[in-house]
């Protein structure tokens, strides 16, 4: 939706950020959510005293939307990557804004649908007991997220072992141990910035059957 409402909206809600400028910072109270009109925004989080990239968002994306729900500190930091134009909406205007702009509301509805699924999917990983399975399921999740991958074949995932550790809710040490094990048994190949999985279907089956038996 290359929103028709942009023009008149920008006057009222538009804000601009220079490259590297912080839009909001982790733990700061959050009352606004943002819609990216143009530019790229990096979402980062301090994890174990290191800055981790969570994602890069671009035109048409929404962020800070948890602020719609409640006054809650930001869970991550948003930094402008380049020159960024945003629409900034305060929680208090939310109802008015949504009544007047069902198109924007619909967009948020779609975003929330996706986020709910993604959050559930992550939770499913965390609820597995063995670290080994958690790692496998992270790889399965990442594979599922990329519609271009042929899961019957060997696949390449652009992730680091730190990323995997974070998704799995494991320390980097523990995650590394499991990844090394999978690599030794020739299930995966480890590179600095990517992981090659030989048979992702096998992981998928293993995790599914384990998940089933977990409850019995």
């Amino acid at each position: 939706m290359a929103m028709a409402l942009d023009e008149k909206f920008f006057e009222k809600f538009g804000v601009e950020y220079a490259p590297k400028e912080i839009i909001f910072c982790e733990w700061e109270p959050g009352n606004e959510f943002y819609f990216i009109q143009s530019g790229n925004v990096r979402i980062v989080k301090l994890i174990q005293n290191r800055e981790k990239n969570l994602s890069v968002l671009t035109d048409g994306d929404v962020f800070g939307e948890m602020a719609i729900l409640e006054e809650q500190p930001r869970s991550a930091t948003a930094i402008a990557l380049d020159h960024v134009k945003l629409l900034k909406f305060h929680r208090d205007n939310f109802d008015t804004l949504m009544s007047g702009n069902p198109a924007l509301a619909y967009k948020l509805l779609v975003i929330f649908s996706k986020r709910i699924y993604d959050a559930k999917r992550r939770l499913m990983i965390l609820l597995l007991e063995e670290p080994q399975l958690k790692i496998m399921d992270v790889l399965v999740m990442l594979a599922e997220q990329d519609p271009h991958l042929d899961l019957q074949q060997e696949i390449t995932l652009q992730v680091t072992s730190q990323d995997v550790a974070r998704w799995a809710g494991l320390t980097e040490g523990d995650a590394q141990k499991e990844l090394t094990h999978l690599s030794r048994t020739d299930k995966i190949e480890l590179f600095g910035d990517k992981i090659v999985v030989k048979k992702i279907r096998e992981f998928q089956r293993l995790v599914a059957s384990r998940r089933k038996s977990m409850y019995q």
Binding site: K20, E21, I22, C25, E26, W27, E28, P29, L46, N49, E51, E65, M66, I68, L69, E70, E71, Q72, P73, T77, I79, D95, M98, S99, G100, N101, P102, A103, A105, Y106, L108, L109, V110, F112, S113, K114, R115, I116, Y117, A119, K120, R122, L123, M124, L126, L127, G169, R211, K212, M214, Y215, Q216
Partner: protein
């Protein structure tokens, strides 16, 4: 699977299922969104944490299959019919068209979705053990420390300044101030900065409620299924003032109402209000009014007025009511002149109308709202002296006292 399908003029498909049919299976990929028109549908899903099977019954008028269709991911539940059932089948495009015409439906769904999201994120945090912290002020300060330490003084400055903005009397305020000055002075970060432990943990001042995981239970998740449900659903359809408590179910009932003259197959997105009698229009108008859609409501009340039907007692009453409610719409839309015109018409044309007293009272409100105190008092006085005495009389008296007190 489907025993019959029909397509209405707008292309919206209705489908009938026999009892025991599966509308979709868990893990199916499908873009369709359903509205239960009649019959019984049960959604069966498996709880994430316990593996327990959860069954939820869809109520008539409710949507199901929304999240997975919009989010483009596999179904998270199985939908099965218990009785002979009739559903409307929408594509995301149909759905979009439908909801865009009713901002309130989107808004409410949004609220439901965001609550679900919040619950899941909370669970996630608690599983990760991230719930145990937290003084946001101390954490915010730490962010500043981190960036200062890695030499990103701009970002550090941002965090420290925010700290001072929000937590000026916080425990780290002095320190934050010191850091801000140091950065301004171009000083590099001190060596002892941002260590894993910087002093005793701050006592919990006005910190936000801490997620200890005990303020929600896994049961609270409401099941992972894809059904729209409202915590605040209200059966009282007459509480028109409390628009926010109208359940979606009610809205959809209004939307898809059987009271309308058309059969189901005539249901069309462009013709959600298909009735043509003052009664149909009035029902739809009231529903819109209660949802806060004053423009739509006004249109419908105007339609009733323009029909000018007063032959039956019922139609006459609706005709007069339409004037009164159109006036209220104008008031809500901050158009006092138009509102004045509507209420005055009642006074002039329907001296015996049951809406007479209400109209006079609203004239009082109207003048009050534009700060014409004396006129407001005049109208409230009229109400005060009208018989039979009822609640409105005492409300008028309260108003008069208030206005005179000012």
């Amino acid at each position: 699977m489907s025993n019959g399908a029909g397509s209405g003029p707008s292309g919206v498909i209705t489908r009938t299922y026999k009892a025991g049919s599966i509308i979709y299976f868990e893990n199916d990929k499908s873009e369709y969104i359903y509205i239960l028109k009649s019959g019984k549908v049960v959604l069966t899903s498996v709880k994430l944490d316990s593996g327990e099977e959860v069954k939820e019954e869809v109520r008539e008028g409710e949507f199901f299959g929304v999240k997975s269709a919009l989010g483009k991911y596999p179904r998270e539940e199985t939908a099965q019919t218990l009785t002979n059932t009739l559903v409307l089948v929408l594509t995301p495009a149909d759905f979009e068209r439908l909801v865009l015409r009713n901002a309130n439906v989107v808004r409410k769904m949004l609220r439901v979705f965001s609550n679900q999201l919040r619950r899941i994120v909370k669970m996630e945090r608690s599983v990760l053990g991230e719930g145990e912290i937290v003084n946001p002020d101390a954490e915010l300060f730490k962010i500043g420390e981190y960036y200062y330490k890695v030499g990103d003084t701009k970002h550090a400055q941002y965090a420290y300044k925010r700290y001072m903005e929000y937590y000026a009397d916080g425990e780290k305020a002095d320190m934050a101030m010191k850091r801000i000055r140091a950065i301004d002075a171009g000083e590099p970060a001190p060596d002892d900065i941002g260590g894993p432990d910087e002093g005793p943990p701050s006592a919990q001042p006005q910190a936000r409620p801490v997620d200890r995981g005990d303020d929600f239970s896994l049961d609270d998740q409401g099941g992972p299924s894809d059904m729209i449900d409202f915590d605040d659903s209200s059966d009282d359809r007459d509480s028109r003032q409390v628009a926010s408590s109208t359940a979606l179910e009610d809205e959809m009932d209004d939307f898809l109402s059987d009271d309308t003259s058309g059969g189901l197959d005539d249901f069309s997105l462009d013709d959600a209000v298909s009735g043509n009698t003052p009664k149909d229009l009035s029902g739809a108008a009231d529903a819109s009014f209660s949802r806060g859609n004053y423009t739509t409501a006004l249109d419908l009340y105007q339609k009733i007025i323009s029909m000018n039907r007063t032959s039956s007692a019922e139609d006459k009453k609706l005709f007069e009511k339409a004037h009164f409610d159109a006036g209220r719409c104008y008031m809500e839309m901050a158009k006092p002149k138009e509102a004045l015109d509507m209420f005055s018409r009642i006074l002039r044309s329907f001296p015996d109308s049951p809406y007479m007293k209400l109209a006079i009272y609203h004239l009082g409100l109207l003048f009050e709202s534009v700060n014409q105190k004396d006129k407001a008092i005049t109208y409230f006085n009229k109400v005060l002296n009208m018989t039979p005495k009822d609640k409105l009389n005492s409300e008028a008296l309260t108003k008069i006292k208030q206005l005179q007190g000012k």
